[in-house]
Each structure stands twice: as C-alpha cells, then as structure tokens.
Symmetry: C2
Subunit: 301 residues, 2 copies
C-alpha cells in the first residue's frame, strides 16, 4: 500500500507451446522478482506458442522481461520451430501496456529501453511496433512479421526493414523480435437474437474501423452454433478512446434495421476497471465523476 | 503486490472538529503503521466532529484504531463538547467495512475484537451496532445514541441499555462508543429536470425503504437552487443487494408519471469499484462475467 506505484502490464509471446519444462524456465524470472507479478501464462500446442501476462513496476518488470528473453534465446531454436501461428522469433512479440500512473509515452520509453538492452545483450534484431514504431509502416505487427522467421533472413537486409535496434541480420536460432507499447486490448462480443450469420457479418463491417466504423474497433461476425445465435466478435484496441458502451449501442442501432435485438454481451479475459466504470458513468449520466472516487484506486494508488 | 491481502475500511468519528492539533494527534496512529493507509480526514466546526477514512489489513488496522481511540480518551472531554451533530462519546462511532477478501462475518469479529479491547483498556462502555448488534433494537445507531452524551449517564444504567462491553456507566470524560460492522455506504443523487420540490420529495418516498421502496435505500428530496432543479438525494447502505442501476431506473420510471426526466446523477465521495462494475454489467447485459476478469483485482488480490 505504498504511494503512487507505477504499474505496467506486459504480454510477451514466446515460440514454444509444447515443451512445458522450457516454458516453466522462461517464465521463472516473472515469479522470482519483487515488484513483478505473473498473472497468467498459457501454451497452445497447435500454435506452438506461449502467451504470458505479467504486471509490475517498470524497473523490475524490464529486468524480468530481459532475463526471460535471454532464456528464450537459450532454449528455443527457431530453425526447428513449427506451428500454426505466424512467428519470427524465439521471443516473438513483447507489448508493454500502461496500467496505473504510467503514460503511453512512458510505456514507449520502457519498450525502447528493453529493445536496446536485449539487442546489445543477445545480439538480437528488434523492431519497434505499435505506439513505439518509428514509422507508420511499422505500427502493424503483421506487416513487420510478414515472411515469418524463414523469410526474415533476407527481408531484414532490405533498407526499409533495417531493425530499430541490433544487427541487420537475424539471430541464427532466435530470429527477430517486435517490441512496443500499446493500449490494453479488450476482447468484447455482442450477441444477437438471430441465427443469421449474414447479419452479424454486416454489423461487424458497420462498426469496425477498417470498413468505416469506430477507430479502435476490429470485428468479425461469428456463429454460436450451440446457441443458434450469431455474435459480433470484437477486439477493442483502445477503450479510452472507443468506449465499450459506444460500440454496444451502435450495434443495437444497426441491429434494429434487421429487426434483430441484442441479447447480451461478453468480455473474454481481462478488462481494465476503467473500461467498465466509464460504461457505468455513461448509463447513469454521472456528473463530475472522477476515478479518484473509486475506493480501490485510493487504496492502491 | 502480495497475495490475497485482506482489506478492511474503517470510518471512525471523533468528537473534535475545531482543535486541529488534537485532530492531528488522534490520526497519527493511522499514518504511522505499516499495512494501514489514511485515505481522508475532515473536520466540521459546526458539528465539532472529525470523520476519518482509513483502510488496512485487519491486525494493524485494529491496533491503529485502538491507539487512536486511546488518544481521543486523553484529548477530548465530552463535558466541554458542543456541536450540532448528535454524539455520545469522544470516539463517537467506529464502523468497520469489508473491502477485499473479508466477509461481513469477519468484519463483525474485527468490530468485537476492538470493542472488547478498548472497553478493557480505557474502561469505556461500548455498544455493538449495525451488523454487529446483539439485538435488533441496537442495529440503529440513532436509537443507541438517543439522549446523547448528556443523557447517556442515566440511560446506560437501564437493563435494556447495558453496554455490550465495558462498565454500565459512562466514561466521565469520554462517554460511550458504538462499534460495529456495516457495508459500504454510497452517497448517490439523481437529478430531475424540474424545479418542483414536491416531485423529488414524492419520488424519494417511492424509492426509499422506509416508505415502501428498496431495502437498502434511504432518500430525501432536495432543491438545487442554483441550477433550478431538484434532486433525489440518497444513501445506499448495501450496494451489493440494492444496486445503483436499480434505484436509478426506478427513479426514471417514477419521474415519468410527472412528465419529468432524469438529467443525470452523481456520486458523492468514495464508491467501491464493484458498485459501478455491476452497473456496467447490467447495461451491457454481460454474460458470465466475473470480478476476477477485472485486471486490477488480479494485480492486487
């Protein structure tokens, strides 16, 4: 209960989803360090990939990430790696997410500190992505990773794909890594009282950014066959700018033209408190409300 | 960021609102102790009363409350005390409120531990109130405190007002104290687009418990003269059972019969995160949502 502790979240993805002993070794630095808390880690055998969720104060968190990346360099050989998920490195991608008393700018600085140190320490090429990207072409992870580990050996020699840190050649066994700051992702789905997939698909296109919708919303229609209904399945990539209630109400409005109702919604995985408190504040029409009025923010600030 | 820390809130009221030096001395134990955090303290000169808001882990919080009550016994003489607010003791009332990983039963036990210890240590009569009350007649603080400090000297000798701990006579200078467990109070007001006080007054009567409304809602109508509107001003005494959205929607429904609209609402002071997250979950129709999905509960559990 000390004062104004800064908290950052990190969700590193490692290219090992089958050898649990290796995964245990890689996450060990997240268990061992004061000021760092391992929230979750999950491996996927088909993807051959492990996704780790960890939070902590900036300095110990940076140290733990650097150590874990060192273990990934030691333990994972990309030349032997097969899996369904696109990947380019032993540590494939490392996003840093501001949680408490951390600005996006500070999260960018943290990502650059880690990128610079792992490049030097492990002779690893690093691309800065998302909010840390030096150019718009590097904001999108998929664009950086295109060609994957196998194609990166040649791609990285192109002037336009010179890495931001480290050598302009892949690490022979560990490939290359993308590191950057981004906002918290919220996986948010809205369910409709119809089995007609076409309707979910159309509404997804109406509300998502790429086809004319809300700036920080990605979405597709999907069928929930066991329930006989369809869903607009979304990733909200900055809830501070594209609020959950806004996309929920917009889907309700779009559904109306098909005579369809929203029957409910769901959040998959973790959601920052503020995303839901902002939603409550909208529906209650709260006047002059501040997050400082939330007891928990006062206890743990 | 240790695991599953229990957190209790305490809001002791001391009968000193004018001598700031005395107040500083009384709150000192809340500043000094590891595992205890002083969130707020406010004095009111007219009431001649100070209200302290503190949170902490059960053991250090109990110790700090007992120390602060000892200082109040030393520093406050009720024989000299005048003020507008009803009061019966130097430490007038001490509610304990469960916040995290604490059951109402545990909060009751904490209140009894403190009551027993301060009764012994300071020869102070203590009444258990609210959820800690031994009988329904003692649940209500106002009933216990009726007659105030001046009347308590005789009242406490009556068999039905024998204190739960300590002697059946007031402490000569410190009077008597009520200690108990209660749920968090949320001060919640809903604003109407009319200047007609009568409408706020009627709606308050329709939604509050005492006159037929919701179980954990107290309310009155008030005028906001500078805005030319009226307000239903409420105390929600258990948001886990009477949700904020329920009283908000009920007021909207009642207002309709007068052709009046709700223009907004406001929360005064602190509110537990869960009260607003439950509200968001209602409006979004969240399916299978758990508080464990809130990032902050995972960071600080």
């Amino acid at each position: 209960m000390s004062s104004m502790k800064q908290i950052v979240q990190c969700v590193p993805n490692f290219s090992e989803g089958r050898d649990l002993k290796k995964i245990e070794k890689i996450v060990e630095p997240f268990r061992a360090k004061d000021g760092v808390k391992l929230l979750d880690y999950q491996n996927d055998e088909d993807h051959n990939r492990a996704v780790v969720t960890v939070v902590g104060e900036p300095e110990p968190l940076k140290e733990a990430v650097i150590e874990a990346m060192g273990l990934a360099v030691e333990l994972i050989d990309m030349r032997q790696h097969q899996g369904q998920h696109p990947r380019m490195g032993a540590t494939d991608v490392v996003p840093f997410i501001p949680v408490k008393h951390v600005t996006p700018q500070e999260a960018i600085q943290i990502s650059k500190d880690v990128a610079s140190q792992v490049a030097d320490k492990y002779n690893l090429p690093v691309f800065l992505y998302e909010k840390s990207a030096a150019t718009p072409a590097r904001q999108n992870l998929a664009a950086i990773r295109q060609g994957q580990f196998e194609g990166m050996a040649e791609k990285i020699k192109l002037p336009e794909w010179k890495p931001d840190y480290g050598p302009a050649q892949i690490h022979p066994s560990a490939g290359a890594t993308a590191i950057g700051a981004r906002m918290a992702l919220v996986a948010y789905n809205v369910n409709l009282d119809t089995g007609n997939f076409e309707i979910a698909d159309r509404i997804a296109k109406q509300v998502r950014h790429i086809s004319g919708g809300l700036r920080y919303c990605k979405g597709i229609g999907i069928e929930l066959k066991d329930r006989g209904i369809v869903q607009v399945s979304m990733n909200m990539s900055d809830y501070t700018k594209t609020a959950l209630y806004r996309v929920f109400e917009l889907i309700r409005i779009e559904a109306r033209r098909y005579g369809v109702n929203v029957v409910g919604s769901e959040i998959i995985g973790l959601v920052p408190m503020e995303a839901l408190i902002e939603t409550a504040a909208y529906y209650l029409g709260l006047e002059d409300f501040s997050m400082e009025q939330v007891l928990e923010t006062r206890i743990w600030e």
